[in-house]
């Protein structure tokens, strides 16, 4: 699921759980689902690794990708 969708779903669960007449078994289920979503979101935020690439064109106009950060570090 996309991060945005997860976050929206989480918001919905939080507000659902504010409903005072929600049956207890449903409330507990929602609480568990919400907690799981929240943790998924947090994981998603940290899932990717930072990566900056740069497109380089050769004489024939073909584009290749090179790491931009590594390039800079070499220069330093």
């Amino acid at each position: 699921m996309k991060f945005e969708e997860s976050l929206k779903k989480l918001e919905k669960i939080v507000s659902d759980l504010e409903e005072p007449n929600i049956p207890l078994d449903k409330a507990i289920k929602k609480y568990q689902d919400g907690l799981e979503l929240a943790n998924q979101c947090l994981e998603q935020l940290n899932a990717a690794e930072k990566k900056v690439s740069i497109c380089l064109k050769d004489s024939k106009g073909r584009v290749t990708l090179r790491s931009f950060g590594a390039d800079k570090e070499k220069q330093q």
Binding site: F3, L7, V14, E18, C41, L45, E49, I54, C55
Partner: protein
């Protein structure tokens, strides 16, 4: 007589006039209103320049006409740079135009306004075509110059907001010859490869000439045709280019574009943590409420049981009264007695059950006595 007269051919005269006119005037700047604009099939531009009293024919040859940034229209007030000469075949003097400037504003400004109006009419700026910017992009395409502050600023802001971001830089010329083709090509590259899900198109501040590639139709169309949403950040806050109008979102500066393209990760984490706390709190609030309801239910139950017991008791009491009325002792009190044969203690209700000499026990309301049968009388009598 004839020898004294110098007779010229029409051609000779016309040539002399041409030479005279050309050498007299040299390069001219002429101001006037444009009318009768016509482009010949060979690409030359013909028009008439006029004011209230006079008019003059003008021609601009294809090589010069191609350098025009804006479209020449009837009714425009212009200043032309030209030389004057005579078209000998027609004996017609006319202006040979080198360049045309719209009066009152630069030709770039006019070209900008003309293209903007044309693309606006075509619907390229319509809100309906704007694509939403993804909330959390998986990778960001950056089209800008590889050198200079712009790329540094963008990367710096991205790093600050979301330390593990992904970006692909497509370096392009951002001014001068070939810039517009490179920019359009970069947009197409990202659309073909789909390596990114959002694009920042950026350039630092500059003069209208320097920003010009971003006012070119080829760039405008590339932005419009992009399936990937584009955030534009061209020049300073006050600069608006055609690219800004076509793009899905316009950022006032490159740094701001970087802020718009990715959320602040720390804010998101805080938000999610707060949701987690809220979830727990909501459940904790809910549970005591349930205890209370359980208490109420128990109380209600207890009440109901008490009622039930009372009801049963009342029923029992009324039955007991009924039973009491049937108590045999009460019958004995009215003078009746019960007689049993001994030793079996069988209650006797018929004389036939007895024989002379049987011993009997008779129970009265109070006490009893023993007797024996002396004689038996039939109930016939």
């Amino acid at each position: 007589m004839d020898t004294e007269r110098k007779i010229l051919t029409v051609s000779e005269l016309t040539r002399d006039i041409r030479i005279l006119i050309e050498s007299f005037f040299g390069i001219l700047w002429v101001e006037g209103e444009v009318s009768n604009v016509r482009i010949s099939p060979s690409g030359h531009l013909y028009f008439i320049l006029k004011d209230k009293l006079s008019q003059i024919r003008c021609v601009m040859f294809k090589p010069q006409a191609l350098t025009m940034r804006f479209a020449l229209k009837d009714g425009m007030q212009v200043i032309v740079m030209a030389n004057i000469s005579v078209y000998e075949r027609d004996g017609q003097y006319q202006l040979y135009i080198q360049s045309i400037e719209p009066k009152g504003k630069g030709s770039l400004q006019l070209a900008f306004e003309q293209l903007k109006e044309r693309l606006r009419k075509e619907g390229l700026f319509d809100q309906a075509h704007k694509k939403p910017i993804p909330f959390l992009p998986s990778a960001i395409g950056i089209i800008t110059s590889a050198v200079g502050a712009v790329i540094r600023d963008i990367l710096h802001v991205l790093e600050k907001r979301f330390d593990n971001f992904k970006a692909i830089i497509y370096p392009v010329k951002v001014q001068g010859e070939g810039a517009k083709e490179e920019i359009a090509g970069a947009i197409e590259y990202f659309n073909e490869t789909r390596l990114v899900d959002v694009i920042i198109l950026a350039r630092g501040g500059g003069s209208i000439e320097e920003l010009w590639p971003f006012n070119e139709e080829i760039v405008a169309r590339a932005i419009f045709n992009s399936q990937i949403p584009i955030i534009s950040a061209i020049g300073h806050q006050t600069d608006y280019t055609i690219a800004d109008f076509v793009s899905d979102l316009r950022a006032p500066t490159p740094s701001r574009a970087a802020e718009l393209v990715i959320p602040n990760k720390q804010d998101l984490i805080l938000q999610i943590e707060s949701y987690k706390r809220q979830l727990r709190r909501n459940l904790e609030v809910l549970i005591p409420a349930y205890y209370q309801r359980l208490d109420q239910l128990t109380e209600g139950l207890r009440h109901n049981i008490k009622d039930l017991i009372n009801q049963k008791r009342r029923l029992f009491e009324s039955e007991a009264i009924k039973l009491e009325s049937l108590n045999p002792l009460r019958i004995l009190k009215r003078g009746y007695s019960v007689t049993m044969k001994l030793p079996e203690q069988v209650i006797i209700s018929k004389a036939k059950q007895l024989q002379v000499g049987n011993r009997l026990k008779t129970m009265l309301a109070e006490g009893a006595f023993i007797s024996s049968v002396e004689s038996i009388e039939d109930n016939k009598e």
